[in-house]
Amino acid sequence: MSKVLMKGNEAVGAAAIKAGCKYFFGYPITPSSEIPEYMSKALPEAGGVFLQAESEVAAINMVYGAGGAGARVMTASSSPGISLKQEGITYIAGAEVPCVIVNMMRGGPGLGSIQPGQADYFQSTRGGGNGDYRTLCYAPSSIQEIVDLVILGFDKADYYRNPVLIVADGMIGQMMEAVEFKDPAPIDLPEKDWATTGTGGKRQPNVVNSLFLQAEELQAHNDRLEKKYKLIEENEVLYEAYGLEEAEVVLVAYGTTSRIVKTAMKQAEAKGIKVGIIRPITLWPFPHDVFKTIGNNAKGILTVEMSAGQMIDDVKIAVEGRLPVYFNGTQGGMVPTPASVLADIEKIAGGTK
C-alpha cells in the first residue's frame, strides 16, 4: 500500500478503523479533538458508531459497556480527560474488558496547558485508578509508529482481555507525516465467549464484573490478573536501543523527546563522544533488561523527558545503582533542545556532571 500524508490524530482514527474498531465514545479536549472529529465522519462510513459522550467519565463507561458486549472499541482524550477516565479504566481492567485508550498528553497538573507534555508517565504506568492492575502502555515516537501500535494494540487488548493505553504527546497528535496502513501480523485470538450478547437461550448468562465480595475470591482473581501481567511483562516489551556496548553516555527518552535526543546524539558523536540510546516503546512493561547490556565504558545515563522527572524512576530501578542517572527535563509545553542535551552529554562524558 502507498503512503499517505496524515495528521497524527487523524491517523489514530484511521488506524483504529483499519484494526476493526467499530465504536468510539469520547469528549473533546485539546490537543486530541481531531480524533473524535475524524471518527464522527469516518466511523459511520465504516459501518460503526461514533457517540459524543457528556463527559470523559461517561465515555469510558460506554467503552466498558461496548467492550463488555464484545465489540472493538476506543476512546481518546488528553491529560485532564484521562484523569476522569481512571474510574472506568480500573473497572475495565478488573472486569478484563478489552479496549484501546489514547492519551495525547498535555502539560499539567490541573488544567495545565494545551501544549505537549509527558507528565502522565506515572498515571499511565502506575495505574491512575484504584487497585492492583496494569495497562499495557505504548509510547509511539512517529505517526507511522502510532498507526502500527494502535493496530497492534487492538489485537493485544483482545488477546489479553486488558485495556491498552497509547500514550503520545500533543506534538505527535498535531504533526503530519507520511504513513502506510499495513496489515497486522496474524494472531490467534480467543472467542469472546464471555461477552454480554444476550444468551439467546443457548447458554448460561455471562456476567462482566469486577466485584468479588469474598476475600478468597478476590485474592484468586488478583492472582489470576498478576499471572496475566507477568505474561505481558515476559512477552510484550518493546524498545529501540543501539550503541549501548561502547557508550560513554546512554540517553533514555520516549516519544517526541527521543527524536530530539537523537539529534543531540549525532552532534555528540561528531565531537567524538560515544553515545547510546534506549527508547522504550512500551512504558509498561518497561524494558528493564536492556539496561543490563550497557557496556563498561559508560559513565552515566541521561534521562530526557517533558516532565519534572517521572520515567527516571523506572530508569533507576532498571540500572540497579550501577551507574549515576541524570535528568534533563522541560515542562509547560517547553521542549528540550538538542543543545541542552548535548551540553549534558559533554558534562557526563567529561566527568564534570
Binding site: V49, M62, G65, V73, A95, V208
Partner: protein
C-alpha cells in the same frame, strides 16, 4: 398437584441477600416477570448498580454487566449501541441514579437512548448504612442527617421523574410504589410498558419505584410500608408523567 405459584424464570436460583421486608426483592420479581412475559429474557442484557442491588447480576437470569456507582446508564448505552436489537436495562438506587449518576441519567434520556431504567427510590443510602440521599425527605433522620434533613443545609429532595419528564428523549416516565398489592400490580404494568417503549424503539423509558428500607429507616417491614405511604407518596406523587403513543 397443580402449580399455583413459581419463581420467575427471569430470576436465577441464587437466594436474595436483601433484608427481611426489603422491597428490592419484589421489584426484581416484577422486572423478571415482565421480561419473561414479553418473551425477551434471552435477548436481554442488564446493568447492575452500586448499592444494595449490586448483586443483581447474580439474580437476573440474563447477561449482566456490573457498573461503577452511578454509571449504569453510560454502560447500558455502550451495550445498546453494540446490540441495538437487544433489550438493555439498568437497575439503580436513588444514591446511584439521583446523586453520583445524575449526569449520566439526564444524558441517557436526552439522547433518547433506547434503554429501560428501573429506579428504586428508598430515600436513603441502604448499602452503606443509611446515609442521606438526595431523595431523603426533609426532617428524615439518617446517619449523616442525625437531626433530620435540614432544608437550609441540604436543600429539598429531588424529584427525578418530574425532572426527566421535561426531557424530550424520555418517552415513558412513571412513578409507582410497591407498598400494597394494588400498587404492585400497577408497578408491574408500568415496568412492562417501559420495556415495550424500548422494544418498539420509542426512546428512553424509566420507572421510579418507591421502595422501603426497613433496616435503615429503623422500622419493622410493616411499619416501613406505612411510612412509605404516609411520607413518601405525598412528596413523590404516583402516576404517569410521560407516555408514548403507538406509531407516533
Amino acid at each position: 398437584m397443580t402449580m399455583v405459584y413459581e419463581k420467575s424464570k427471569g430470576l436465577t436460583d441464587v437466594p436474595f441477600h436483601y433484608c427481611p421486608g426489603c422491597t428490592h426483592g419484589v421489584i426484581h420479581k416484577l422486572v423478571a416477570e415482565s421480561l419473561v412475559e414479553l418473551g425477551v429474557l434471552d435477548d436481554t442484557i442488564g446493568v447492575a448498580p452500586v448499592g444494595c442491588s449490586v448483586l443483581a447480576y447474580k439474580y437476573f437470569n440474563c447477561d449482566m454487566q456490573e457498573a461503577a456507582h452511578g454509571r449504569a446508564p453510560a454502560v447500558a448505552t455502550g451495550i445498546k449501541r453494540v446490540h441495538p436489537d437487544k433489550v438493555v436495562f439498568s437497575y439503580q438506587g436513588d444514591g446511584d441514579l439521583a446523586s453520583i449518576g445524575a449526569g449520566e441519567i439526564v444524558h441517557v434520556a436526552h439522547r433518547a437512548e433506547k434503554i429501560t431504567t428501573i429506579f428504586v427510590n428508598n430515600a436513603i443510602y441502604g448499602m452503606t448504612g443509611g446515609q442521606m440521599a438526595p431523595t431523603t425527605l426533609v426532617g428524615q433522620k439518617t446517619t449523616t442527617s442525625p437531626l433530620g434533613r435540614d432544608e437550609a443545609l441540604s436543600g429539598k429532595p429531588i424529584r427525578i421523574s418530574e425532572m426527566l419528564a421535561t426531557i424530550d428523549g424520555a418517552k415513558f416516565v412513571e412513578r409507582v410504589s410497591v407498598d400494597t398489592p394494588a400498587n404492585i400490580r400497577k408497578a408491574k404494568k408500568a415496568i412492562k410498558r417501559a420495556f415495550e417503549c424500548q422494544i418498539k424503539g420509542e426512546g428512553f423509558a424509566i420507572v421510579e419505584v418507591l421502595s422501603t428500607c426497613p433496616t435503615n429507616w429503623g422500622l419493622t417491614p410493616v411499619k416501613a410500608l406505612d411510612w412509605l405511604k404516609d411520607n413518601m407518596i405525598p412528596y413523590y406523587p404516583l402516576g404517569n408523567f410521560r407516555n408514548f403513543e403507538e406509531g407516533k
